[in-house]
Symmetry: C3
Subunit: 240 residues, 3 copies
């Protein structure tokens, strides 16, 4: 049921490449957990919380998306229970943020960029683990998107921060692009390492462009929803 880098390597590539491929996905995994954990810690800093709350938010954000992925795929116990090294990575991200966050001019800008890197790493990892466990391309694509985005969504909800998901700039689309590219290339048996690098680069490029230049997709004849107060005024929902 469970999965680790070594097994994946044996399945997907000839033995002389095993270590390299393992190392690449491990790097993706640790990097993704580290940057997401750092965004959690930056939120703790914005909220002026103490060191333990830093570590808590760092851990929840760092491992949140991957935990959900593993639960849904039935790959329990989840990845960080099998390899507690990820919790040490979260702790390192939390502590280093705790001692350096005051040096940043804008913590929120760094948060957005780290979140973009994490998104790029995890849209690949989510799709990759689904494929490695034998699931089909539709599931792999959605799992990539969910894994890449829901860690950040949980962070914003728990810390009551402005949601990255609800802003106009492209967010989910970047994760979808990376997820589709990786899944597509794997369906045609391209080299997993190159596929992963290509897919993550595309996701980071799209999300980075959205952050730098405000890229957004057109909305089709949409208008803002009424607020709760206006809905009551217009009789759509009853007044209390």
């Amino acid at each position: 049921m469970y999965y680790n880098g070594r097994k994946l390597g044996l399945v997907l590539s000839p033995s002389e490449h095993t270590v390299t491929l393992d190392q690449l996905f491990n790097l993706f995994n640790y990097a993704g957990v580290f940057v997401f954990a750092a965004t959690g810690a930056l939120v703790a800093s914005r909220r002026q919380l103490d060191i333990v709350a830093f570590l808590f938010l760092a851990s929840v954000t760092g491992i949140g998306g991957g935990t959900l992925r593993d639960l849904v795929l039935g790959a329990t116990p989840v990845f960080w229970v099998q390899d507690p090294g990820f919790l040490i990575v979260c702790t390192a991200a939390g502590i280093s943020t705790y001692f350096t966050a005051h040096l940043l001019e804008s913590r929120y800008r760094l948060l957005l960029w780290l979140d973009a890197i994490g998104l790029a790493a995890y849209c690949v990892l989510g799709a990759e683990k689904s494929l490695a466990l034998g699931f089909g391309p539709i599931v792999a694509v959605l799992m990539g998107v969910l894994t890449a985005t829901l860690g950040g969504v949980m962070r914003d909800i728990i810390a009551d921060e402005p949601s990255v998901l609800l802003r106009r700039e492209i967010y989910v689309t970047a994760a979808l692009a990376g997820s589709v590219v990786y899944t597509g290339l794997q369906t045609f048996h391209f080299n997993p390492a190159l596929s992963a690098l290509a897919a993550a680069s595309i996701a980071l490029f799209i999300r980075g462009g959205a952050l730098c230049f405000g890229w957004s997709m057109p909305t089709y004849r949409s208008r803002p929803g009424r607020t709760e107060k206006e809905l009551k005024r217009d009789g759509i929902i009853g007044s209390d």
Copy 2:
């Protein structure tokens, strides 16, 4: 461990009825996923998000409650990983909402009614899957309620919308009624199809009445809670 319509049919009904019963629960399942997905897409429209965010919120809302049910019952991988047809249904709901939401005078009213239909379908499906997996009536009733309500709760939390759960009109009670009726009728071995239709009708009737006529249940000597500001003023929680 896992479950599908065919197996259920073999267990619960003589072979000549198998297809009908299978079809009924599949219809409930697809209908529930479709209407919940449409409510997610309507929220995306209210927030003026792009097409990919429509699909994302449609998918999360459509499959959220059922995913939680399967995780808690240990029926992993969850239903939409086993049958990705549900993701296609979510995609269809998202796309059709994207191109038609501007035609509606009130998106929120439609959202509430679709949510009511989804609630009616899922309070039955949650109870039914629990019973089919061999769990007792108390678990089945709660699972029906959780499955029917938590998809909508997740949608409202992720999209920062007014919560259907916290309003005065009857909401959880409708899910409870449907769940109790289905579980009760099944305990006495009534026909599953008729039980399902009766239970869903009752849940829809109650929630529909709440939407049309503002039905609510009495509250026992309740008074509103103090706000965070008032709690600080009165020394219940410390000031920052």
Copy 3:
């Protein structure tokens, strides 16, 4: 895969002590579920919801943290599916709160204290179940913290209440202390019952001190984060 008190007793203690140890952890478990359920019901009272919504919020809060623990550890079906007695405890907590909440001068103060008791019980139970399932100390400590805190976090998010987690007074630290103490003592094979009592007492003492005297930990050169409006003004995030 699953676990119950009897098995634990057989593993951790000589047979003549089995019942006592079982009873202690069962007491912790039922007490933890009861007090968390009561905090959920108190929130329902603050929101002036009806009796069914009381039971719903009581159940979700009472079993939320433990459910997450069991899902992550792969111990499914989760504890309350195996022993529906916990749902009866939640119902009892909901009903008794429904009929007595108006007698309280401050529901929120009681909520905070019950939450503290639940936190103390669950930081031990989370660590204990992880160790009993054979996981190492790092996982046990984090699982104790997650189990103790995330039920309350879910309650506050679902009911849109001020988050206990984001306040300055010590919260996560108390759970961490209890979790570390229990895990540490068990690593050195101390008596499980005494370890549990010591760890829970320490957690309750720390959180209680925070509630009574506003104990908080120093924050290192932290400054408040800009609001969404200020972030837009300063060009960190784009305007809509």
